[in-house]
């Protein structure tokens, strides 16, 4: 059953999860332009922001927003995939004030820029620190389909192929350069 806030949101892919296995209830891939809209809808539903977490994967930076609800517990993970060249996202700190710090932490660790954050400087790291410590070396990155547990797919937009089976090694050329040898690495 699709929740009300999800209807009408142009999500790229919607998955329903079992709380017992992943701790999530919903996992929704959306585009960077949809995040503000999604945050406003979740705010209207009475959700609160748990954290904003980054991830450096083969395909780029995956920023995950975790939301939860007091009366109707069920974690919502909003996922936004950003390219490595332009990791820019609109800030949702206007909707959820607490997002300001979470976004700044994400900026510190991954170098993701949040446009519209009232105080876009460093939070945990020194202001003049150039290194983003959680970014991986090119050879260490793994593709998202190896990292994310997939739930029951409710809807998937046309052309969204992150989780397409990896039989044919016809990944886009820029990704192929990055991914190296994902299987035998460890």
């Amino acid at each position: 059953m699709t929740p009300a806030w999800l209807k009408g949101l142009s999500a790229l892919r919607t998955e329903a999860h079992q709380r017992e296995s992943t701790g999530l209830a919903w996992s929704v891939f959306i585009g960077p332009d949809q995040i503000l809209e999604a945050a406003v809808r979740l705010d209207g539903e009475g959700y609160f922001l748990e954290d904003v977490s980054g991830l450096d994967a083969t395909e780029g930076f995956l920023v995950t927003y975790h939301f939860d609800h007091w009366q109707r517990p069920g974690r919502v993970a909003l996922r936004v995939l950003l390219t490595r060249e332009a990791p820019i996202l609109p800030s949702i700190s206007g909707v959820f004030g607490g997002a300001e710090w979470h976004e700044r932490e994400c900026r510190d660790f991954f170098g993701v820029q949040f446009e519209g954050n009232p105080n876009p400087g460093a939070l945990l790291l020194p202001a003049d620190f150039e290194i983003h410590p959680l970014c991986k070396e090119a050879g260490e990155r793994k593709p998202l389909r190896e990292l994310l547990t997939q739930g029951e797919v409710i809807a998937s937009a046309e052309g969204f192929d992150l989780f397409a089976p990896a039989e044919e090694p016809a990944a886009p050329p820029d990704d192929a350069a990055d991914s190296g040898t994902p299987e035998e690495e460890d």
């Binding site: 709380r19 992943t22 609160f48 954290d51 991830l55 607490g98 400087g121 460093a122 410590p133 460890d186």
Partner: protein
């Protein structure tokens, strides 16, 4: 004044510069911390004062940042356990619990029933000791020197108990994926049984001596009022949230371990102010005692570590897992992404204090400096957890 400290390299860091006063020079920019008696460790707050009223405040973090999340990516699942004792040194067993539950979910590991009870008993004892330390330190912030000594007397008894199975007194790293590191002895359980009535007999004294004191009430009541909606926007949790009137407790909302089998209430206060947070925490001590009372009777015999529990070189199956538990300060979250190797690919720690502190700037606006100290104390901050 044209001293060397006003020239460029010494002119203060990013935050001090951001806080440059405007054309109106009747305000005072004051740097509270990182060495200040009531910022509890190394928190720094830059405030702009008009007289003693705070016009704006901004917490500055990072003085105790250790990059636990990066450490997680370079250590094996078992090697990361000691880190969980050092994120929040006041309630480390909650972080232990969050982490091992996450790893167990990831690896589909069964936990023996006795181990679950051991986790609950030690974790609740630890919660009481955390609240006791908060109580003492908060009153120290308000200028009462004595209560912390009383609180430490009780806390010492808890530490004396916990040091036996865990082997340490502060930074516990006691749980293991699949169970716990050591069994509880009959003497330990007897010690807990004796501690419960002792602690109960002390709580009325706390109330008579401190809670009902008129000066304390005037320092806490109607100070730092946090409306429920604001708590939601900032993602507040734990006693800070419950004092704003929302009975949200992860132990009930997302049950884990054997908590569903135990009877306990979720203390709530509608006061929304510092006094509400104070009362919720004291009530939580009583609830934890109730849990302990039941758990020491219900604990079964049996294994404490499941057979086939992760070994040091254990490789977790690939996948994602998010585990939340209720710590003394609120909702602790551990988010692990595994690529199937011996180290997590990414581990994200959600610290409750981080969100709770982020609302301070808005809460402190327009209050007196003394109130700001009271508000900071009532949020129960543990800086290592916030900075991670």
């Amino acid at each position: 004044m044209d001293s060397v400290f006003h020239q460029e390299p010494f002119r203060g860091d990013y935050y001090t510069r951001r806080f440059e006063p405007g054309p109106d020079d009747s305000t005072l920019i004051l740097n509270m911390g990182p060495q200040h008696p009531s910022t509890h460790g190394v928190l720094r707050v830059v405030v702009e004062l008009e007289g003693e009223y705070i016009l704006r405040a901004e917490p500055v973090l990072g003085y105790l940042h250790r990059m636990h999340e990066k450490m997680g990516e370079t250590r094996s699942y078992l090697q990361y356990m000691p880190n969980m004792g050092r994120v929040d040194y006041l309630h480390p067993l909650a972080w232990n619990h969050a982490y091992v539950c996450a790893v167990e979910k990831l690896g589909n590991i069964e936990v023996p029933r006795r181990a679950e009870f051991i986790r609950v008993i030690t974790s609740e004892l630890n919660r009481i000791s955390s609240h006791l330390l908060w109580w003492g330190a908060y009153l120290l912030d308000l200028g009462a020197f004595t209560p912390i000594m009383y609180a430490f007397e009780e806390r010492e008894r808890i530490q004396d108990l916990l040091q036996e199975p865990t082997g340490s007194r502060l930074t516990y790293s006691f749980f293991r994926p699949g169970g716990v590191a050591a069994d509880l002895s009959p003497e330990f359980l007897q010690g807990v049984r004796e501690f419960i009535p002792y602690m109960r007999s002390r709580l009325p004294m706390y109330k008579d001596l401190v809670t009902d004191n008129i000066i304390l009430r005037y320092r806490c009541e109607e100070v730092g009022e946090l409306p429920l909606d604001m708590a939601r926007r900032y993602g507040a949790s734990g006693p800070v949230l419950r004092a704003s009137g929302m009975a949200y407790d992860v132990r009930r909302a997302e049950p884990y371990s054997v908590y569903p089998e135990l009877e306990f209430a979720t203390p709530v206060s509608q006061r929304t102010d510092a006094m509400g947070r104070y009362k919720v925490r004291l009530a939580e001590i009583e609830e934890s005692l109730k849990i302990l009372e039941q758990a020491v009777e219900m604990i079964p015999e049996g294994e404490i570590l499941v057979k086939g529990a992760p070994k040091p070189r254990w490789k977790a199956p690939a996948g994602e897992v998010y585990q939340a538990v209720e710590g003394a300060r609120g909702k602790i979250g551990v988010h692990i992404l595994s690529a199937g190797s011996a180290q997590p690919y990414r581990i994200k720690l959600r610290a409750p204090g981080f969100s709770n502190l982020s609302l301070f700037a808005e809460l402190a606006k327009g209050t007196l400096l003394s109130d700001a100290v009271s508000i900071l104390g009532s949020l129960d901050l543990v800086i290592p957890e916030i900075d991670r």
